[in-house]
């Protein structure tokens, strides 16, 4: 039953370019990239219990790393992705060791600071274009063919998305994932059981940095341009919002939340005369009151009550 549902979702996602216009297909590709960013936020906020505002920084690191690879090194998409993931995980490991020794609001503030610092670096560093951003990324190449058709780029991004989703899925169902949920639920108890919570949180932080960077690489594959505004506070806040709306702690919830948040911000303003942020605020308030566990949490609860 569940497998059937999963296959149906994948088929629908794969079929989208057949019915969408090219602009809509590239929007869908961007949604997939943003969903991967939401997954990385969920890995910290939902699974490990560390609410973060810093994941946009590693999203940006991934985007810049992929763009620089594309400009100077290779147009091979998977190679850009691998380099971006490594850069994201390493930069998260380099910056996160202070943050993971804290929790709650302190963690939130430290990650916010990390995000702001990385954005400052991006907007001052002339090698990556400073505040003008980094343009001139060549088109993606797959198996020797240059890919410019939005539908094909979307399919490539969908494959990347499914791979990353599967990796995160394996991670959260592994013993390590269980450890992270234990830390989220009762950290002092974990210590008394002999765990080193700081070590596990550090590993989760580095992994989430890698996932966020994969999202960044996907984003830049689609947009072929990256600027400091792609890794600012707003992106980080939207990603956290996507996780809250979708349902922290599940995996498909935040992905759905990412789609809702980005569509509300980018699509509805055209209909509502530029009131996107207002709608987003209203959506957030509504979610907190009506669906405090997010969409996925509410569905799961209904199912539990029914069974």
């Amino acid at each position: 039953m569940i497998t059937l549902r999963r296959v149906a979702v994948v088929l629908v996602l794969a079929g989208l370019p057949l019915v969408l216009t090219s602009y809509q297909a590239s929007t869908a590709g961007r949604l997939l990239a943003f969903a991967v960013l939401a997954l990385s936020v969920d890995l910290l906020a939902g699974i490990t219990g560390l609410p973060t505002l810093g994941q946009a920084a590693y999203f940006g690191v991934g985007a810049y790393a992929a763009a620089l690879t594309g400009i100077h090194l290779s147009t091979n998409g998977p190679l850009q992705l691998v380099i971006a993931v490594a850069a994201g995980a390493l930069s998260a490991a380099a910056t996160g060791w202070v943050a993971v020794r804290t929790g709650g609001t302190v963690f939130l503030m430290l990650t916010l600071a990390i995000g702001e610092l990385v954005q400052q670096v991006a907007s001052r560093w002339s090698y990556v274009g400073g505040s003008n951003g980094l343009a001139g990324m060549p088109a993606l190449q797959l198996g020797g063919h240059t890919v410019t058709l939005p539908g094909v780029i979307y399919w490539y991004l969908l494959v990347v998305f499914l791979v990353i989703y599967a990796v995160v899925r394996v991670l959260v169902s592994s013993p390590f994932g269980r450890t992270l949920r234990g830390i989220r639920d009762n950290e002092p108890r974990m210590r008394a059981l002999g765990y080193r919570p700081a070590a596990a949180k550090y590993a989760a932080y580095a992994a989430a940095g890698g996932v966020a960077a994969a999202g960044g690489a996907m984003w830049v594959t689609e947009a072929r341009f990256v600027s400091p505004s792609d890794l600012g506070f707003e992106v980080a806040a939207l990603a956290l919002l996507a996780v809250v709306i979708g349902g922290a702690g599940t995996l498909w919830g935040p992905c759905l939340g990412a789609a809702i948040v980005l569509l509300t911000r980018d699509y509805l303003p055209g209909i509502t005369g530029g009131h996107g942020p207002l709608l987003l605020g209203a959506l957030f308030v509504l979610t907190v009151y009506v669906l405090p566990r997010g969409l996925a949490g509410t569905v799961r609860r209904r199912a539990a009550v029914a069974s």
Binding site: V170, L171, S173, S174, P175, F176, R178, T179, R181, G182, D185, N186, P188, R189, M190, R191, A192, L193, G194, Y195, R196, A199, A200, A203, A207
Partner: protein
């Protein structure tokens, strides 16, 4: 023979208030040792010092002859010194079995393993189920920990402790808040623990202490007042004065015509 646990002149003060003053005692391997004392005697401070939540600056704590004074709580647990909590501390949203699996997977070295392995996980699961069985909770394995009764949570805690593969177990007032029936079954549980396991219990209920323990240390105002076999401690006039109350004091509060 090296004692399982040894304290050498452990001291601690909260500001100007001395909570522990040169406390020394040792617990032999396989002993059922009780630590008692009236309120404010320093029992909880001493417990925290042994468990590692409180790092003492004076004196030393030795586990099987190895100095663990500077080790963290988690490190002490990995060395085999495992504690329970006075107020049951379990993972409320997870199933009873998952609570024990969390303890078992750490002692099997899987804590940071990012890949699932069906075989190794089955081992951990079997191990956890075995511990649940040992404490009489196997029928509740799939219940949510939040739905357990107070006494059942205590049983669950014991299963989690056993899954850590300990050789010294610290119990912090395990029967506090239990009904007489729960206390009775808990006492049986402690009695049924493997004999090579060293047990240190901090306890208020003196009936439980004298029924369970092979040796007793009495703490009073941060100092060791008496130590020895339960009967010996019970007969000690200094202990009676400090803890059990003397005949004279009883007369102060009880009118004779009522008794």
């Amino acid at each position: 023979m090296i004692p399982a646990l040894e304290l050498r002149s452990v001291g601690h003060r909260y500001g100007a208030l001395p909570a522990l003053d040169s406390v020394s005692f040792s617990v032999a391997t396989g002993a059922r040792h009780a630590l008692i004392g009236p309120n404010g005697a320093g029992k909880s401070t001493l417990f925290a010092a042994i468990a590692g939540t409180l790092r003492v600056r004076t004196g030393s704590i030795l586990l099987h002859g190895r100095d663990v004074t500077a080790r963290s709580e988690a490190a002490r647990c990995r060395m085999g010194l495992v504690r329970t909590f006075q107020h049951s501390s379990v993972f409320l949203q997870q199933s009873v079995l998952d609570n024990v699996v969390l303890a078992a997977q750490r002692s099997s070295g899987l804590a940071l393993r990012p890949l699932p392995s069906a075989r190794r996980f089955a081992e951990v699961r079997d191990d956890a189920a075995e511990q649940l069985d040992a404490v009489g909770l196997c029928g509740r394995a799939s219940a949510r920990a939040a739905d357990l009764s107070h006494g059942e949570r205590r049983q669950l805690e014991v299963a989690m402790v056993l899954a850590c593969k300990p050789d010294v177990v610290l119990f912090d007032e395990p029967t506090a808040g239990m009904s007489p029936a729960e206390t009775e079954s808990f006492s049986n549980l402690i009695r049924a623990l493997p004999p090579q396991l060293t047990v240190l219990v901090i306890e208020h209920d003196l009936d439980v202490v004298f029924a369970l323990s092979s040796s007793v240390t009495v703490l009073h105002l941060g100092k060791v007042l008496a130590a020895g076999a339960p009967a010996q401690v019970q007969a000690d006039p200094a202990v009676q004065a400090a803890y059990l109350g003397t005949g004279e004091q009883e007369e102060l509060f009880m009118a004779e015509d009522l008794t």
